[in-house]
Symmetry: C2
Subunit: 189 residues, 2 copies
């Protein structure tokens, strides 16, 4: 998606440790006009597939998922990051490791909101090692729902998550895939 | 807002401890058509005021803020809940007590995204004791931006947050104000 790539080049900054900061338009401040174009592009890429719900994970996926859901006319379900003490029996749960913070956390979705009749599109802002997305895939499988695909705004193509998910046969659409980046240069696939 | 009140009566459930569960349409699963109507209603109530940014707090405010921002044609900034070790000098910070979990957490916003030229509309899903909203107000004041008002989807009118914020002279618009609720009945103001 050219508009997105141009924006990453214009306003993104690369920090030590292969961190890409896009917090001026994507995941702290959000440029709603751009996110609308992102939502339209996800719709174009998954149009024709039967989708009954969009699922994401808090926090930065939620806004993108909600704007995108307007084009599909379906509800959004967002998975919550929870501490174990809050869990009860009516939940799908999985564990996700955060590479940024090094912690393992529980991810939960109420069983009420996923059923075997659902066809799920996963949406998230970033895909790097794939831990969060693999957690969501695990929850969809537990529910018996059909996973129709995953839409990612920015994939770090030099980290293994994207390949792992494509190798599972999942329809993955990343709007910008970064193959390499340093503080001075950034190359898209 | 009648559509919202009807939905609360139809799909909301009251749990012991004055907990109102609206997770089937507002803050876990999100009915995007309803949230669009909520966004339009916020626009109607704040139309004519100069608004340059919508600000909310993760996680459940983000989707509502993003949908609402489409009507105002402004960006969204969402405040993050952070642990102190993640803080650095380029942030506005405040402390917020969670009445649900009893914990005090830091709320942060990058200084890049709030300036004295900004006119801010705060948006959130719930207002009860007002701790989260007072934290956001504190951040807006620190930045020198102008606070134009706060839009809340559901206010628990029997808890003190709404009155405290109105007493500060802030333009507060709550789309549904609950004056009392038990497991059998729920009364709107």
């Amino acid at each position: 998606m050219e508009l997105l790539k141009e924006r990453i080049l214009k306003d993104g900054t690369v920090r030590p440790g292969q961190i890409l900061k896009v917090d001026s338009f994507l995941n702290h401040q959000m440029d709603i006009d751009l996110i609308n174009e992102i939502g339209k592009e996800f719709y174009r890429r998954f149009e024709g597939q039967k989708i009954t719900k969009i699922m994401t994970i808090e926090a930065s996926g939620i806004g993108i998922a909600c704007i995108t859901a307007q084009y599909f006319h379906v509800p959004v379900v967002f998975a919550k990051k929870a501490q174990s003490k809050n869990l009860d029996g009516d939940l799908y749960t999985t564990k996700v490791q955060s590479y940024t913070h090094g912690k393992v956390y529980d991810v939960i979705v109420s069983r009420k909101f996923l059923s075997p009749e659902d066809h799920i599109l996963l949406i998230d802002d970033f895909l790097a090692n794939g831990c969060a997305l693999l957690g969501l895939i695990d929850i969809v499988k537990s529910s018996g729902a059909t996973l129709e695909g995953a839409g990612i705004v920015i994939e770090k193509g030099f980290q293994p998550g994207g390949q792992a998910i494509r190798d599972m046969g999942i329809h993955l659409e990343s709007l910008a895939i970064i193959d390499s980046m340093t503080e001075d240069s950034l190359t898209f696939r």
